[in-house]
Subunit: 215 residues, 2 copies
Amino acid sequence: MKHEKREVPLVVVKRLPRYYRYLGALLRQGITRISSGELSEKMGVTASQVRQDFNCFGGFGQQGYGYNIETLHREIGDILGLSHGYKTIIIGAGNLGHALANHSNFAKRGFELVGIFDKSPSLIGTQIHDLPVQDVDDLEAFCAANTVDIAILALPKAAIEMVVPRLLKLKIKGLLNFSYTEIEVPEDVAVENVHLSDSLMTLSYKIAQTEKKGK
Amino acid sequence: MKHEKREVPLVVVKRLPRYYRYLGALLRQGITRISSGELSEKMGVTASQVRQDFNCFGGFGQQGYGYNIETLHREIGDILGLSHGYKTIIIGAGNLGHALANHSNFAKRGFELVGIFDKSPSLIGTQIHDLPVQDVDDLEAFCAANTVDIAILALPKAAIEMVVPRLLKLKIKGLLNFSYTEIEVPEDVAVENVHLSDSLMTLSYKIAQTEKKGK
């Protein structure tokens, strides 16, 4: 079954990684089929939400038979572009960059880490995740010799302003930005901004709600 | 104006931290009022989405006059429970825990970091963000002597299973879980799971879409 290439609302796209993770976990448990009802229960969304979400991509399921998990998992992976095997570099080898490099799920999701860069002499030459930390001055030479699709920015704000224009010149396709600052890029470059404090705020909301109920 | 205490869909709640950040940035620029149209444009959502979202909490705005940014920012902060000043500890002083401890936005959002714990002798006693890393064995003693509302889990999966039951006994209100494993908790404990690879998958989707358009 081929999914249709309609424009999909970003709010639905944002749920796809979660579906992908859950379906992967089910597959590893040897489960092969699931109904929208069961899937929705596991994920804490409504069954109609699940059906609506999947309809955005042209279905996947047969009424009354549930979803074939393997097919669904593969198709969602395809929609997410995971089969492209995007080559990834991390800029910033501080604690966050280090933690991200060691994040095994990146490779599991089909992203290959090909380089790590920093400007600090004390970090350049050290090994992280079997890769040597390279001098960020060598970024252009590295990208001339290697394919790089994605740059993960684990840098302070001040450094971002220096590095982003260089990455744009190098025709990097996507930036995963952990710097808590907005970056401006042309339309043909994808950006995803990660704000770690957002998750803490969401948790805070949940606690506040729980406390209200308890009163 | 007091917001109503209805149940708010989680998808709306998830957007609140983003509204909060944007409104904070506008305030710092000295802007005092904004229309739903302008706010929606800045945030890349539709104006009707903005109005719908705020209606979930009972409004905030006056038709034709736009929103008072300061009021809106404060009210959203209240809804998010930021005014509670939740006391936070980090468990796991590795690269991720270290990066999170140094994440200045946590304090800016009203969360006070009161302790960092690890089990590694090489980390215990070192200083991170003006706090000494404490032995995780001392968790119970620390929580008996200090108020702790939130525990941030920056631990490998294996360690999670040991630590979570202890945290539940200590009546911690909320867990921010970076361990990429699902944790089971009673209903009166809030959990927010953070999956860093989800943002990479969303970015991958955006790149794949951009490439399709370019063809």
